[in-house]
C-alpha cells in the first residue's frame, strides 16, 4: 500500500533522522517528491510512503511523536475551471502525466494519485488557472 504525506516540521526538529528511521525501523520505501527547508522557517516535505499498511501507520505515529506534523496529502492543486481554457499546454510539462486532456471531451483532468506537487503546471499555465497550496 502507499500513502502520500505532507510533513511539516519546526526549525528545531530539522536535525532528526526522519527518513533514515522510516526506512530502517519501519521497512518503508520513502519517495521524496518535494522538499522546502529554509533556515529559521518551518520545513515541508511531500513524501510517498510504500510498505505494509500497519508499518505505514506506525511510521506516521512515530513522526507525530517527534512533534512533527504529518498529514495525508489531499488535493493541493487547484484548477480554476472558470479560468482554465483547456488548452492543454500543461500536459507535456507535467512530469508524471497526472495532467491529461480527456480523449473525448479534450478537457483538462488531473489525477491526484499521480501528482507530485512539482509546481511546473502552476508556472506554465498561461491563464493563471492552476494554483498549488504547498
Amino acid at each position: 500500500m502507499k500513502k502520500k504525506l505532507i510533513i511539516t516540521f519546526p526549525p528545531e526538529n530539522v536535525e532528526k533522522p526522519l527518513v533514515y528511521t522510516l526506512i530502517k525501523d519501519f521497512n518503508l520505501w520513502v519517495n521524496i517528491h518535494r522538499a522546502i527547508i529554509e533556515p529559521q522557517k518551518n520545513g515541508k516535505i511531500v513524501v510517498e510512503l510504500r510498505g505494509e499498511a500497519d508499518m505505514i501507520e506506525k511510521g506516521i505515529s512515530y513522526i507525530k511523536e517527534l512533534g512533527i506534523g504529518a498529514n495525508e496529502l489531499e488535493s493541493d492543486v487547484v484548477i480554476d475551471k472558470d479560468r482554465c481554457v483547456d488548452c492543454g499546454v500543461c500536459t507535456s510539462i507535467c512530469p508524471t502525466g497526472a495532467l491529461k486532456l480527456d480523449k473525448d471531451t479534450y478537457k483538462l483532468s488531473l489525477n491526484y494519485d499521480e501528482c507530485v506537487l512539482c509546481g511546473f503546471c502552476e508556472e506554465t499555465c498561461p491563464v493563471g488557472a492552476i494554483s498549488i497550496n504547498f
Binding site: 479560468r83 488548452c87 499546454v89 500543461c90 507535456s92 479534450y106 506554465t124 498561461p126
Partner: protein
Amino acid sequence: MRHIRTYDEINNRIEKGEAVVVTAEEIIDIARDEGPRRAAEHVDVVTTGTFSPMCSSGIFLNFGHADPPIRMQKITINDVPAHGGLAAVDTYLGATSASRSDPKYGGAHVIEDLLKGREVALSATSGGTDCYPRKEINTLVDLNSINDAVMYNPRNCYQNYTVAINSTERSIKTYMGTLLPKMGNAHYSTSGQLSPLLNDPTFKTIGVGTRIFLCGAQGYVTWNGTQHNPSVQEVNGKKMYFGGTLSVMANFKAMSTQYLRAAYLPGYGVSIFIGVGVPIPILSEDILKDVSISDDEIYTKVVDYGVKSREKTVHGYVNYGQLRSGTIELEGKEVRASPISSYAKAREICETLKESIQRGEFKLQSPYERMPDKVSFNNLEVREL
C-alpha cells in the same frame, strides 16, 4: 466548380430556420458515410473555429472628451502603455503591451478586465494646445463609459502552425510555451480539422467581408492578415497548407469573456487567447471535400525553436491525428505533444456559431474581394544607418 447553391439561397433558408448546419467535426463522418456529392446536396453550412493565443490583437478605443479637453499623447491604462499617435482621445491598445510595474499584466489583461465590466485607470499627458488645453488626466473608465471600443486584430487565425521542439541542452521559454531540453516535449497550436483556414485552404469562400464570429460578437474579415503568405507543399501524399492569415474586426462591446482570455507565457510575455469562428457555405462539392478533411490528413512541420536564427531546422512532419494522441515519434524517440490551442473551446465555438445560424441570428456574407493568392514576403534585412 459546379455551384450547388448561392449565398442568397442559404440566407433564405437561414431566415426560414431550414438551413442544415453542421460543425467541421460532424461533416467528417457525414461525408464519409454519404459521400461528398450527397453530403453537399443537403448540408448548407459548415462551421469552423479556433481558440489560440494570437499576439497580433488589440482594441481601438475612443474615450470621449473630458472638460476641459485633452489631446492624449502619452497614455497608460492600468499602467499599460497604449498608443498615443492618433487623434486626441483615440488609442490602440495592443494585447502584448506590458505594464510598466508588472510584466505579467498587459494589454490583454486590460482588455479582459474591461470586458468583465471592471473599472480601469486611464492616465494621459499632453503638451497642451489652444484647442486642447488640459495637460494631464487621471480617471477611472469602464466599458460603458468609453465612447467606442472596437477590436481590430491585424493577424489572427494562422492557417497552420509549426510544432515547436527544443534540441538544446536547456529548457527554453517561448511564445509556444516552455520547451524542455533534448526534445523533451513538443507544442503545437492549431485546432486542426476545426481550424477555419485549414477547412478552406485555397480561400474559395473566406475573403474580405466574410462575416465571422469574433470572441462572441459578429464581425468581419477586413483584409488578409499581416504576413499572409499562403503556400502548399506535398507531404506523405497530402497537401500541406501553410501561411494564410486573416485580419479581423468586431464590436468589442458585444464580445464575451467566454471566448477571450488574457495570457502570460513565462519568459516570453503577455498574449491573448482569441476565439474565431468562420462559417463555410457549401456552394459546391469541392468546398464540401475541403471541409471534410480530418486530423489524420492535415500535416505540419516540426521545427527546432532552440535555433536562435530566423531559419529554423525542420525535424520532420507529423499530422494532427498523431499530435492529438499526445505522443509523436521524432528521430526514433517518443516525444510528448501538447497543444497550446484549445480544442475544447474551438469545438464550443463551432457549436455556438452553428446554433446562432440555426436560430437565424447569424447570416452569411459573401466576400467582396478574394484573398490574394500570392504576396511578396519580405524579411527585414538590417541596413547600415
